[in-house]
């Protein structure tokens, strides 16, 4: 989609009390501070089922999370409806949110995952590591330009991380006999 008028929802999630796991909320705070027209921002500790309803009201959804092993400083992947079979907890995966939005609310929201590379996760502390802070700056620049330009698909081509593409089972493979 390339449209300056697309309604965009950015959800930054993670635990700011767990070091670099706070990258998602930190990005959300930065983008919210920019007050970009047409862009709404949510922040949460983790994704849960109600985010499916949230994204269903938007053309574009961007899920921003810390990543432990992806490309630096970040990657930007197109997100397909999916289910993480047998996994998960109170939280759901971004692909499950998209799947629920589609199944329950008929949403056709074009969704992307922005994985910002973090390095320190084990421990408590409300701070980002130096490297993670640097990656956050790059991600903020990227997102602010992205939502202004509206070139989501091109960006997903350019910044994709193929290693992150196939971790989930496609929802179409689920049978309900």
């Amino acid at each position: 989609m390339k449209s300056g008028k697309a309604r965009v929802l950015l959800i930054g999630y993670g635990n700011p009390g767990r070091l670099d796991d706070g990258l998602g909320p930190a990005l959300a705070a930065c983008i919210e501070g920019l007050s970009i027209p047409g862009v709404s921002v949510e922040s949460d500790y983790q994704l849960t089922v109600e985010h499916a309803h949230d994204i269903s009201n938007y053309d574009i959804a961007i899920f921003a999370d810390a990543d432990t092993s992806g490309r630096e400083p970040f990657y930007f992947n197109r997100l397909a409806p999916s289910v993480t079979s047998g996994l998960g907890s109170h939280e759901v995966s971004p692909g499950e949110v998209v799947s629920l939005a589609l199944t329950l609310f008929g949403a056709k929201t074009q969704s992307y995952i922005l994985g910002i590379r973090g390095y320190e996760f084990n421990g408590f502390g409300e701070r980002l590591s130096c490297l993670a802070s640097r990656n956050l700056e790059s991600a903020v620049d990227f997102v602010s330009n992205l939502v202004k330009e509206g070139n989501f698909e091109e960006a997903a081509e350019e910044f994709t991380d193929t290693g992150k593409a196939c971790v989930e089972i496609c929802v179409d493979n689920i049978s309900l006999n």
């Binding site: 767990r18 907890s89 109170h90 049978s175």
Partner: protein, 480 residues
């Protein structure tokens, strides 16, 4: 030694659809007879150290970082402890009612999420159903109305939290000695709009849980079940009170072990045991000792300990619930889901009641008193009794913090549930996905919140390993 050589260990890691990380290990002998089953928890270490040295007024906000799913419980328990620190024993009515509204919103959303999206796949598709359909997406596809109800109820609870705490997450509403905002009439009216729908869905949820439990009582009654003590806060007149009260503990027959104990004296009644194989402690009632003093907390325990519920629909449901065990404590682990839905209904009735209370628009928000050194705050979190205990020095810094979270209180009970199900279901049988899920279902009945573990992507594979007593890996299964 020769016996140990014939044992093998099955490890399920992490437990699916519970919060954070846990690991189940089952020690089998050569005939696949269960010799030992344990739930290992590796969370919450370090947090008490992390808050040391921080100013006391930060605690209600900081401690929310413990959990992504019930931050409000930590927010309020810490705030209650800080009330004591600032010398306040009684909050202004507006402050207490705002906090209560926040808390009922929290219980409502947490219970809805658990029932509709975590436990319902097991109930709707069967304990041993293919995991490819036994999940939240499976429910959404086959039972979309139920799934939508779950989403919208969770959203409603989150809205209540947002309007009382200021934000859906990391709210700042509760402050030492009170609250920092009241509920505007505009906010009240927004919440009012959906009350009727939420009440209908809550009543329907109780019916679903009740019908399922009654219909399957023969299979459910022994599933992961055992006699136990039960503990919760209780109001002075014996009513269920999720926000405040005194401690009551009863035994499996309903006899009181202690009653109306001021929770600031909890250390005289509760102690914690450390076991080498788990970071999570094992609390127990001192007067009964380690072996007999363990107890359950949470919805099942609260239904058992209270004399009545002070909202009409939930009280009606409570009576039906207690009738199943002829008025005696219900020790059926899987009845927890029914109990949880009764609390969901109670919370919704309370939300409705509070929205009609003009005190919520009051202006007197904070009380002050004479500064104290020690503060203890307890609350009935969705998963059970939550203890926050702090010592603050003359520089206003936290010097000591001790938290006993709900899931820790249920540690022994969850271990017993694992042991019971493992012995009943796994002995002498081939280890299948469905059988392993039986273990997880028993744990899920407690809705454990094993912490806000770092959840960054790519960190949560489900690994099943079979290891012999010497640590040799015999088999390994991984789901992704």
């Amino acid at each position: 030694m020769s016996t140990e050589k014939k044992l093998k260990r099955v490890i399920i890691e992490p437990v699916t659809r519970v919060e954070g990380h846990g690991k189940v290990s089952i020690l089998l002998d050569e005939k696949n007879e269960v010799k030992q089953a344990r739930l290992h928890i590796v969370e919450f270490r370090g947090f008490e150290r992390f808050v040391k040295g921080r100013p006391y007024w930060e605690m209600p906000v900081l401690t929310q970082r413990l959990c992504g799913i019930c931050p409000v419980s930590h927010h309020l328990a810490a705030a209650k402890a800080m009330d004591i620190i600032v010398g306040v024993d009684k909050l202004p009515p507006t402050a207490e009612k705002m906090r209560r509204l926040m808390h009922y919103g929290q219980v409502f959303q947490s219970h809805a999420l658990h029932f509709f999206h975590l436990c319902s796949p097991d109930l709707l598709f069967g304990f041993e159903a293919d995991p490819a359909i036994r999940n939240v997406i499976g429910v959404a596809k086959k039972f979309p109305e139920l799934a939508v109800q779950g989403v919208m109820m969770r959203k409603y609870g989150q809205e209540v939290i947002k309007m009382t705490a200021g934000k859906k997450i990391h709210g700042t509403g509760a402050v030492p000695g009170g609250i920092n905002k009241n509920l505007s009439l505009a906010e009240r009216d927004i919440l009012f709009k959906d009350v009727k729908q939420m009440m209908e869905w809550s009543l329907s949820a109780v019916k679903i849980a009740k019908d399922y439990t009654v219909e399957h009582l023969t299979e459910l009654a022994p599933f992961g079940s055992f006699d136990s003590n039960h503990l919760s806060l209780i109001r002075k007149d014996g009513a269920m009170d999720l926000y405040h009260g005194n401690l009551r503990a009863i035994d499996a027959q309903g006899d009181k072990i202690f009653d109306q104990v001021d929770y600031s004296d909890y250390r005289d009644y509760i102690a914690e045991e450390v076991r080498s194989w788990s970071y999570m402690k094992f609390p127990f009632i001192k007067q009964l000792g380690i072996d007999n003093g363990w107890y359950r907390v949470g919805p099942l325990a609260r239904l058992n300990t209270c004399d009545f519920i002070d909202t009409p629909e939930a009280e009606k449901a409570r009576k039906e619930f207690m009738a199943v065990t002829s008025g005696k404590p219900n020790n059926i682990t899987m009845a927890s889901h029914w109990a949880r839905m009764i609390e969901l209904l109670h919370s919704m009735e309370k939300i409705k009641e509070l929205l009609n209370d003009k005190d919520l628009q009051g202006k007197d928000l904070i009380a002050r008193g004479k500064r104290r050194e020690t503060g203890i705050g307890l609350i009935e979190a969705p998963r059970g009794t939550l203890f926050h205990h702090y010592k603050v020095n003359e520089n206003d810094q936290v010097e000591m913090a001790n938290l006993i979270v709900s899931t820790t209180n249920n540690n022994e009970a969850m271990n017993r549930a694992v042991q019971k199900v493992a012995k009943d279901k796994l002995s002498g049988k081939k280890i299948t996905e469905g059988l392993l899920n039986n273990i997880e279902i028993a744990i899920r009945a407690y809705d454990p919140c094993l912490s806000c573990a770092t959840h960054a992507m790519g960190r949560m594979p489900l690994v099943v390993e079979i290891i012999d007593h010497e640590g040799n890996l015999l088999d390994r299964k991984e789901k992704s």
